[in-house]
Each structure stands twice: as C-alpha cells, then as structure tokens.
Amino acid sequence: MRTLTLGPVGITTHRRTFAVGLIMSAALAALLVFALMQGQSNITVLDSLRAAVGIPVGAPADFIVGQVRAPRALTAVLVGAMLGLSGAILQSLTRNPLASPDFIGISAGAGAGAVLTLWLVGATSLWVTAAGAAVGALTVAALIFALSFKRGIVPLRLILAGIGMGFVAQAATQYFLTRMDVHEASNALGWLVGSVTGRTWTHVTVAAAVLAILLPPVLWHARALRTMEMGDDAARALGIRVAAARGMLAVCSVLLAAGAVAITGPIGFIALVAPAIALRLTRNAGVTLIPSALMGALLLLAADQVAQMMPTTVQLPVGVFTAAVGAPYLLWLVWRASRGGPA
C-alpha cells in the first residue's frame, strides 16, 4: 500500500496499481507522440512536439501538427478518459460489468438532440451540433433521474429507466432521419457513430474544463465508492453517507458521458471495456478510477490511429473501431457466462 497526499486529499493505492498507472501513462505519452507523427508529411519528432505546444517551427508542421493532429489526439485522450471514468463509476455503483453509459440512454439522447439540430439548422458548425447533443443528453439524464428517483437513486432502476428512455430517444432520432434528405442523413449517421476528426483546440479546452470540474468530486468519493461495493450496510457501518455519495457519483458519471458525447458524438464501448481492462491489469478487488480513465484514453487514441491508417475510400469514424474492441469483450463475457461464471 502507498498513500499519495495532496492537501486534504489522500489517495491510497496498491503498489501494483501505482506501477500499472505509471506504465499506462508512459504508453499514453508514447502513443501521443506517434499520433502527432503519423500521416503523410515527414516532420521530425522534435518539430512535432514543438508545433504541438505552439512553438512555431515552419510552414507544414505548424498547421498539420499544431492545428490538426494535436487537437485531434488530445480530444481523443480527454474524451477517452471521461468515458473510462464514467463507465468505471457506473459499473461499480451497479456491480454489473455490462453497465455502461452508452446503454442507458445518454448517448441516445445526445444523438436525438444532435440529429434534430442537423435537421432544423443544418450542418453549419460542429458547435451547433454539439450544443444540440448536450441539450439532448442532459434532457434524457434529467428524465432518467426523475423516473428512477424513489427515496434516493437506486442504480438498477436508473439503468432500466435509462434503457427505456434510450429507446424513446432512438425512435425520435429515426423519425428525424426519415425526414432529412439523403446527404443530411448520411452526415447525421456519421455523427451518430462518433468521430474525433476536425476537432479543434476549443474542443480540447471544453473537454479539459469538463474533466477538471468533475474529477475532484469523483476522486473525493472514491473511497465511498469502493466501500459501497461491499454492500450498503457495510458502507453505512463504516461511516459512509450512502445515499448522498451514490447520488453525487451517479450525477458525475452521467455528466461525464454527456460531455464526452457532445464533443465527439456517441463513441461506443470505451466506457464498457476500459474499466474491465483496468481492473484486470491492476488486479484490484474493487473499482480503479484513475487506471480506468487512463485505459479509456489509451483505447480511444489507439482506435483513432487505426481508423486513420485504414485504406478505405471514406475514412471510417473511430466509433466503428471501438465497437471492434467491444465485440470480443462481449463474446468473452458470453463464453464465461456459459461456463457458469459471473457476468
């Protein structure tokens, strides 16, 4: 065990968790450099790094790295971290490895909001779409909380209410899609799979701000979250205010997912898979928040590199590739469940 203290906040970690976290951070840094380098034009490592942090180095690098690759890669890192964190909280609260914010209506609500804006206003800018998505996600989130609130938030009820609302939102999305013309519909479908192309420094700033606001309350309740996994009674006996902590964590998880989906569109399966991988790497008994966030960032950044390297005529959105990571994991859950294991 090892305790890191920073003012009043102390994070206790196992030695292995700490080491795994360091290795993941190093891998993330390496992948980030690769993301800045990868592509058509030849720019040296040093120039890439300089251009990424805003030091002018010359014509192609300033634009390609400084304005295209760097914001795209950082958006992927931040949104991946948000999704990983959101999934880890939700899976821990519900004690269910299949729970993920993708499946409880948040993404569907964002999709309905975004497609509605695309239909009414057209594809004027990414920001209008993002605003529509944020409004949609938050509306559905409010409805889910209202429907599942009954003397505190019951996580399982939250999931079921979310699934129901998700179908309502999807129906709305499909209605809007049938009303658009083909090009708009194709555009909207692209947004619905989730993508990090064309993201700018403003997107990075917004993602960083959302993460900076929501991370402190999450870490503050990390111990409560881990204790609640032992059962509500045990947590109460250990002095945790269960209802308050659970409400706060559920709200943070939903807001993280809503923020992520507004910035990139609904990228699936990161929130499902990242916490599971983090849990196995750290071999922790309970939830591991920071490794889950790091794993989410790693997965999304890696999936985006694969998406860029694919030799297809149209560049496929990154959401298609994160689904390709999610598929084997789901099948593995099937295999394990069919052998009588927990799932």
Binding site: F103, G164, V320
Partner: protein, 331 residues
C-alpha cells in the same frame, strides 16, 4: 375460464375496431360503408375504394401479422427466460435481422423482398442465440437487469456494424433508413402469403409447446419429473421466437416494445396460464400495432410517422414506468 373467454372475445372486438380504423383512417378518411363495399364488391372506378383495396388492406394485413407475431414472441421469451423484460426488439433480435438485411443490400445479395426474408431470419436467429447465451445462462441468470443490459449491449454492437456498412454505401442508406423506421407502407407489392403461413404455424407451434414451457417455469427438476425434455423445449421455443421475430422484422422493419408491453398487459388480464396468454398477446399485439400505425398516420400531417417510431415512444415510456414500479430485490 369464462372470464378468460370473455376477455378473449373483448380483445377480438378491439382488434376488429382497430382493423376498421386502419382501413378507414388516413390522409384521406373513407367512410365505413365505402370500405365495406371495397372489400365485398369492388368498383374499380371509385378512387376511394381503390385506396382501400390497393393500399390499406395490405398495410392492415402486415400490421396484424407483425403485431401478432411480436406479441406471441414476447410472451414466449418472457416465459423461457422467466424475465419480465424479455422482448425481441429490446434483446437485439430485430437488430440482428436488420444487420443481415443491410449486409444483403450492400453486397447486392438481397435486393429483392424474396431474398431479404430468409436473410432476415438468419440474422434474427444468430442474435437470438447470442443474447440468450449472454443474458439467460450462468450464475446470475434470471436477473432482469442482466438480460436487458445484454440485449442493449448486443443491439449497440450490431448497430455500429450496421452504421459502418451504411457509411461505406450511400445507396444503401436510402433504402435502409425507410426500412428501419418500421413502416407498414411501401410494401403493398409484396406477397405476404408465405410470411402469413410462417406466423400462423409458429404461433400454433408455440401453443403446442406451451404446456412443456409452463412445466419448465415450475423449475427444471419439476419439469423433468413431469417427463418434459428441457433441452428440446428450449431449442424449439428459441426457434419459434426466431421465426416470429424474423417474420415481423421482414414484414414491417424492426419494431420494439410490442413484445414487451402486450404480454405484460395480457398477464394482468388473464393471469399466468400460458396458452391463454399467447392467444391474448396475439390479438392484443395485432390491435396495438394497428392503433399505433393509425396514430402515426394522423399525428403529423401531411407526413406520416412509421409504426416502429410510435411503438417505441409508447413502449419506452411503459418500460420506464415498469422499472419504477418494481421492487429493488426483483431487479
């Protein structure tokens, strides 16, 4: 027994009213006398009678088939998994059929209706087996939340593959987005006789198997003691559900929640007796789909809203309210 028979008759009357509405109501309202004339003694010169015989009859037949199939499929799945949230749409079976059709459209293998139907069955069958394996087996089997999550996860996975194929094929999008909204229109040229036979035979098979299924619901040991072969019954039920869900999806596009809401309401009316539940679910499902279709025709003039969208709106709300009413221990 008498109470159940009365309820069945009432459902039959409700279905009759729904059929009459479906034939008469639309962007052009036609009075019932003209409808009757169109059905019994068609005058090909009268445009109103032609609307009924050319458009609304086929639309109504497809609605009845899809609704009855989904109602029975839902009731069978809920009994098989002992799970109130089982629904072919919710569990991704319709999405599997949709993916198979999209693959067929994109590869050019299934551009005609005659080839789309078997392709939809294959997709539905694969998804049914997969979701049953994820959600209904293993240590925590039977927890409603688990099955619902497994279905939604599978649906999300299938949908993203579907989107990827669509993004690479612009022409497929045009055909797909109309099909996926679960519309009963634009299908008047299709010959639904084969589908009708499949649905009727599958519903009858479900009725025959319902005694065995009910024995399994008592517990596996009790079922064995009663001489029921558990493996055979389960396989048969999954096959029947696949046929019903595949037929409904091929006929009307993916429709969710009919298979969830209808058996639920039927159970409140006739109790747990499975044969009665299947009969009431078939009648109620057909009536619900027709009523939803009629609502979709009149709610947003001059356009129409596909029946899949109306049912998802109504069914999604029912689902969320069901979740609210359940006790935490049941989840």
């Amino acid at each position: 027994m008498r109470k159940r028979a009365v309820i069945a008759v009432l459902c039959l009357v409700a279905l009759g009213v729904a059929i009459a509405l479906s034939l008469a109501v639309g962007s052009r309202s036609i009075d019932l006398g003209t409808v009757w004339q169109a059905l019994t003694d068609l005058d090909p010169q009268d445009p109103e009678q032609l609307i009924v015989s050319e458009l609304r009859v086929s639309r109504t037949v497809i609605g009845v088939l899809a609704g009855a199939a989904l109602g029975v499929a839902g009731a069978l799945m809920q009994s098989l998994t002992r799970n109130p949230f089982a629904d072919p749409g919710l569990l991704g079976i319709n999405a599997g059929a949709a993916l198979a059709v999209v693959i067929g459209l994109a590869t050019g293998l299934a551009t005609s209706y005659a080839t789309q139907v078997p392709v939809a069955f294959v997709g539905a069958g694969l998804a049914a087996v997969l979701v049953y394996a994820i959600g209904a087996r293993g240590a925590a089997a039977g927890a409603p939340v688990r099955l619902a999550l497994a279905g939604v996860a599978l649906t999300a996975l299938i949908s993203s593959v579907t989107y990827a194929i669509l993004l690479l094929n612009d022409e497929t999008i045009e055909q797909y987005r109309l099909w996926v909204a679960g519309s009963l229109t634009g299908r008047q040229n299709y010959d639904v006789t084969a589908l009708a036979w499949i649905v009727v035979v599958a519903i009858l098979a479900g009725l025959v198997a319902s005694r065995q299924l009910q024995a399994i619901a008592l517990g596996e040991d009790a079922a064995r003691a009663l001489g029921v072969s558990i493996g055979t019954t389960r396989t048969a039920i999954i096959l029947i559900v696949t046929l019903l869900a595949g037929a409904a999806t091929a006929a009307a596009g993916p429709i969710v929640f009919v298979g969830l809401a209808v058996p639920h309401l039927a159970r409140a009316l006739v109790g747990a007796s499975l044969p009665w539940l299947l009969v009431i679910s078939a009648l109620g499902g057909a009536a619900l789909v027709l009523v939803c279709d009629v609502i979709g025709r009149v709610i947003a003039p001059p356009g129409e809203i596909g029946v899949g969208i109306t049912t998802a709106f109504i069914g999604g709300a029912i689902f969320a309210l069901m979740a609210r009413r359940m006790k935490v221990v049941e989840l």
